[in-house]
Amino acid sequence: MELKVIRILEEMFNEEKDFQGLYRSLKRLCDYNCLPVLVVSSTNPDGGDPGYGSDTLKGLDRDPCLMVKREDRFCQVISVILAGKSLKCKSFRVEDNIFKARTSRDGTVICERESLSKLQEVTINGIIPIIPGSFSLLPESEPGYLGWNGADLSAVVLVEALQQTQCYLWSGKRGLSSSNLPGISTLKSLGRISYGECLEMAAAGMNVPSARAVERAENSNIRICVCRPDGQEEGTWIMSEVSGKSVIIKAVALDKETAKIAVLGVPDRPGIAARLFSGLAAEGICVEMILQSVMRGQINDIAFLVDKRDIEKTITACRDLSRQLGAQGVTFDTEIARVSVVGAGISSHAEIPSRVFSILAGKGINIEMISASSMAITCVVSSLDGEAAVHALHHEFMEDK
């Protein structure tokens, strides 16, 4: 019997008919001689991000014990409902130790032989295992939170351990779309994207499978399918290099959850940047798009982006450092938006950057910062211009003309 690892989200189940839909989808799989292995996520029931990047429960706003209990309970609920409809199930709890963290710090998740045996005892008898996926057990036997969409990673880990090749992430949407901006009438569904493109979309602020899950899948050559329970063959496949019709740009993303910081007039001496970013790292602040201005008069400006939720810690850290370094000051800007075009091969199409910048210029949109990789061009613009920029770029690159 073929095993199919499927991650499901609590947010998909609001009414009785949603559970009916799940039952029908699972029953259909069983009828085709497949056995579903369900990995459950219930830590972001609002679809919001409760604490991206947290490897452990420390620092979470929500009560960690309640989150663990909630996920355990939801596994039981699914189990009871499916059992009531004649599907044999067994729900596991976080403390059952299916997923383990190698250390409390690096967040590397494993599924050990012992855990696998526990699972196989269940699957060999045709019973559907239902496993909480947002937590791993830390070496000190405490549950460690795997971050936003952490269950994606658990599902991939399980596919790897079970020596399967495909991982299904069921959601309420048909798959991934060509933009995360609501209201674009010409959104395209993405059929296939590469691991690299998916990682760029994650970095650009799109709601795609977690970066750690995609990286792990890429390393193990596991294909990920994001789809609705009722349409597994549709949806978006995330896989290695995508061949076929060459579509250079796959998505245009908007991210308004970023703030721009500029430390002004920093002395131009070796070690200053190290000191600045060590100070931020010590506070657990992740930064990106770091730009240093051309040195003039032995001073320069260093600008970078942080997540808006880190702005309070960033203000404190930067003000302290500015004082210590004898800088001119620090300016903060929370009214910005990151607009990204994502697609493999951007770097090999010379015209793409000029088209992006021309489109924005044509709309009178000023670009404040730019970064580019082989698969994405990201522009920082005023938040007032963010949506107009996405509309214009989506129209240029994604719509048939």
Partner: protein
């Protein structure tokens, strides 16, 4: 005079609500004026970097040079030509005393040419004379929160004790300029007696509270009826900001900074809640803005010798 030398001059926020043309606070945001080399008399080269680049004059018409020449002329000194690098972090024409920094910087450069340099306190009358009013240049030169009065050319001032270290000044700077002339013209020529009494009582309360550490009086002390009701209409979101920011629990008082359009608010902690709110109000009114979270600068303008390598073009 030994060059190169750097003059570091702080931003300042004047008025603070009730203290119209009287109160000013130096802030931890700085312009650097590097005097790099001496040139033949009458020749000036000013390189402007950062704020005001492309806008400010780069020759004898530059405000730093004008102030330098005015001071030298007053003292009967033949002014040397200079190459100056002006690295500006203080936004221009936003009510943060950018032009005052040029005046303070220019006079301090002239002071270096004197055989017997004067103290900063002795330089103040000259700076105030050039600026025309004391509320920015005095704190800019001396640092701290300063109460200043000017009668003809007589200047009296008192520098108040430090702002507590757990309080910050949050300054939201919109991408919008209000000219000083426009800001002056917006004011009525006559003030009703009750409004004058209102402001005198608030300005006295603000000064006395700052002097005695009773900072919980700031919201009262910073309220104003003389200029803010008129100037807040000169830029989008001004009236809404003054009305709404004062209601944020972390806010300990809010005012238009100088003649605007920047808004200054005092806050406890990191100031992020107040700052984000201020910028979001500007955004709602279609204005781009950024913010600074600043300490009180208590040193004022300072001099620092630079290494020779900084003179490279």
């Amino acid at each position: 005079m030994r060059f190169p030398i750097r003059i570091r001059v702080p931003a300042s926020s004047a008025n603070l609500g009730s203290g119209f043309d009287t109160l000013g606070l130096a802030l931890s945001l700085y312009n650097f004026f590097d005097v790099l080399e001496v040139l033949p008399s009458g020749r000036y080269e000013v390189e402007v970097i950062g704020e005001g680049s492309g806008e400010l004059e780069t020759d004898i018409k530059n405000q730093i040079v004008q102030s330098y020449e005015k001071a030298c002329g007053t003292w009967g000194i033949n002014p040397l030509g200079l190459r100056i690098r002006s690295s500006n972090a203080i936004p221009l024409a936003r009510g943060l005393g950018s032009s005052s920094t040029a005046i303070v910087g220019g006079v301090m450069i002239a002071n270096l040419v004197r055989d017997v340099p004067l103290s900063k306190e002795e330089l103040l009358p000259m700076m105030v004379d050039i600026e025309g009013h004391p509320d920015n240049v005095v704190p800019c030169c001396l640092g701290g929160m300063v109460v200043s009065c000017l009668e003809n050319s007589d200047l009296r001032y008192v520098k108040l004790p430090r702002l507590p270290s757990d309080m910050v000044a949050v300054v939201a700077v919109p991408d919008f300029k209000v000219s000083t002339e426009e800001a002056r013209n917006a004011l009525p020529r006559e003030v009703p007696l009750e409004d004058a009494v209102f402001n005198i009582s608030r300005a006295a309360l603000l000064s006395a509270s700052w002097a005695t550490g009773k900072f919980d009086n700031l919201p009262w002390g910073m309220s104003d009826r003389i200029h803010q009701p008129f100037r807040s209409r000169l830029f989008p979101g001004g009236e809404a900001l003054l009305d709404q920011v004062s209601r944020i629990p972390e806010c300990s008082g809010v005012a238009i900074s100088g003649s605007g359009p920047s808004i200054i608010a005092f806050a406890s902690g990191s100031g992020s809640t107040v700052a984000k709110y201020m910028c979001s109000v500007f955004s709602k009114h279609g204005l781009r803005s950024r913010f600074f979270v600043l300490d009180e600068d208590y040193q004022g303008a300072t001099l620092e010798a630079l290494s020779r390598s900084t003179t490279r073009r």
